[in-house]
Symmetry: C2
Subunit: 427 residues, 2 copies
Amino acid sequence: MTTTETLSVREMGLRARRAARVLRSLPTDRKAAALHAVARELRAREAGILAANARDVAAAQAAGLPAPMVARLRLDAPALAAIARDVEAVAALPDPVGETTPERTLPSGIRVSQRRVPLGVLGVIYESRPNVTVDVAALALMSGNAVILRGGKETVSSNAALEEAIRAGLASEGVPAEAVQVIRDPARERMLELLRLDDLVDAIIPRGGAGLHRYCVENATVPVIVGGIGVVHIYLDESFTRDPADVERAARLVHNAKVQKPSACNALDTLLIHRGALPALPALARDLMAAGVTLRADPPALATLRSAGLDAEPASEADYGTEFLSLTASIRTVPGLDEALDFIAAHGNHTDVILTRDPAQAERFVADVDSAAVMVNASPRFNDGGQLGLGAEVAISTQKLHARGPMGLRELTTTKWVVVGDGQVRA
Amino acid sequence: MTTTETLSVREMGLRARRAARVLRSLPTDRKAAALHAVARELRAREAGILAANARDVAAAQAAGLPAPMVARLRLDAPALAAIARDVEAVAALPDPVGETTPERTLPSGIRVSQRRVPLGVLGVIYESRPNVTVDVAALALMSGNAVILRGGKETVSSNAALEEAIRAGLASEGVPAEAVQVIRDPARERMLELLRLDDLVDAIIPRGGAGLHRYCVENATVPVIVGGIGVVHIYLDESFTRDPADVERAARLVHNAKVQKPSACNALDTLLIHRGALPALPALARDLMAAGVTLRADPPALATLRSAGLDAEPASEADYGTEFLSLTASIRTVPGLDEALDFIAAHGNHTDVILTRDPAQAERFVADVDSAAVMVNASPRFNDGGQLGLGAEVAISTQKLHARGPMGLRELTTTKWVVVGDGQVRA
């Protein structure tokens, strides 16, 4: 088996293109079999993979990386077993490749349809979680794509061991190992080469913080799918606070939105509250504060909280339109739905929720808000591939082109026009 | 009515965003009414528009522009009338905005669907044809998008007059005139500002030559939809030359592919010919040469042509994978389908055609060729929005993301997730 260790990024691109030509015609059952073989290899190589990971962890600790970062890159036996199970779950997903729109016969006599095909070659750039290496490879393969992966420099050993397991699995099923290649050289120049390989790579998917996304957008000539970055709002209308059971529901939902996974892109950033709903705010705030959330509130909300004996910080303008990714949230009081919609138009794009008992308000909110996901009376944490029924996701797109929201197998495909005639020419 | 003459590109972007928020909720009939008003204004202002165009033509002639370029920018009364009719035709197209996927209830109890919505704000950059100004504005409006247009410096007066007509039409129907704005300053810096306005513009669509597309890809931070660039192949199999009627069909089709509009992106560039089909080549070549086509052939094809008394030029490697956009085509002899497929895998991406009577070959060709359009026994000139049943097109995408092939109204939209619950939180 070849190793990618010493290849130039361009040579990796050429190999990926050749592999992609094989992958795009591979039947579903062969792709699934290859993924099962990958899962077997991951299990069989557990000791080697965990040893490689232990080297990364030791190096990270020696370099003084903060404990949460070290935690993110650490693998153990249960985590590796979960990764292998996830690969098998991807193998069971419906294959979008080959779906064809109904054929139409046009006035010229030609018969036309659109057939779903893989994108081709993906470049995925991510940070320190080694599970991404396997997750992304599995989704790329099942959708018939070759992939070039560029992980964080903190996980070079783990990723090399995982790449070898993946490629051994593929090779054992007769699938080109070049379908999955990891750039092992952590130098930024190699990433830049990948970002500019537009004659060989069809899409770049960054997974990481805003800085990584911005770097890709600024430097890539390959199209980039930007995702995961954005502010999450919940607008609490007065109508959702009249019934004490609703106040309880709202408190539970806001708590879920902020506390369940504060580092997630679909966690709450800003609570917009109808001024008539302010009496319910202390009940919501108590739950959040008990979980360690810092609240930054505008004057009416601050006054309401303080008069209930709760302490919050005064919000500055910088606390709005800001993605916190931590146990902090801002609160803004609005006189009504119009102002909430204006606020979201200025700051939103990711996930925005209205809590209301007024169906007309709900419909206006859904119609006006232009975000990847718009929700009525549900937690923004549902903006996730698994939660929305996609089975798995490679990223959450917050841009408009190609895919918006969670990207599963279908979002890793495109279409081609198929035209069948009998010698027709254009008039 | 405001004029965009003195606005910065950023200010135009902010106004476009505000207009887009209105446009995205506009019912179909109001968009159609606005387009009819635009058509009326174009007709009412005929004299002024043609006078403005005459100024552009005079300036172009004074500057010594080549006659074909001057011809491209010239408008006359019938051309303007046709443009107005095209606007009315767009108003009659089905509106994709608001289409919703069937709602599904997921295990968590939330109900989810995807609703089709406009992209938002488009930036369209094009060269000297003033009809593009109106065509693109009409498609953008009907799909609920605001658009910022940047035409060629040779058509500044024409575009200003057309913009005024469009905006007057919109305003008369109560649609924000800022939905259509033309960058009047022809300085390249203004185009660069548009390309980097990624917080306000959702997509850049270049319409023009390879140089313009490359400039956009290299410089934009807004996502770019690359289109129209690419090589068109026809593979003539031996099975399509056994029957003299088929040879005649092939000759007619190849002639249509190359001669009907040589400057079009879907015109033939390279004829791949099965060596067993060489005896049919002179019949094809005679028709092409009679139309003034220069053929550049590889040695077997050249020998066949010369022994039939036809003169062709020897092809160099540079004649393959080259988009001619003129009355030149290259010919390459291949031993069979495998080699044709390898050749197309190396050079194709736009439109590729097989002429064959063998259904198994046709299916292999359709499965293996990864281009925007793959055709069996039909002219590549059918790769066009009107010809494929889209009604109209804003561009032909040759990239994989978002849209592939002709882009009509639907391709100017995206989707958003709509989630409706009753207080559900994520487990």
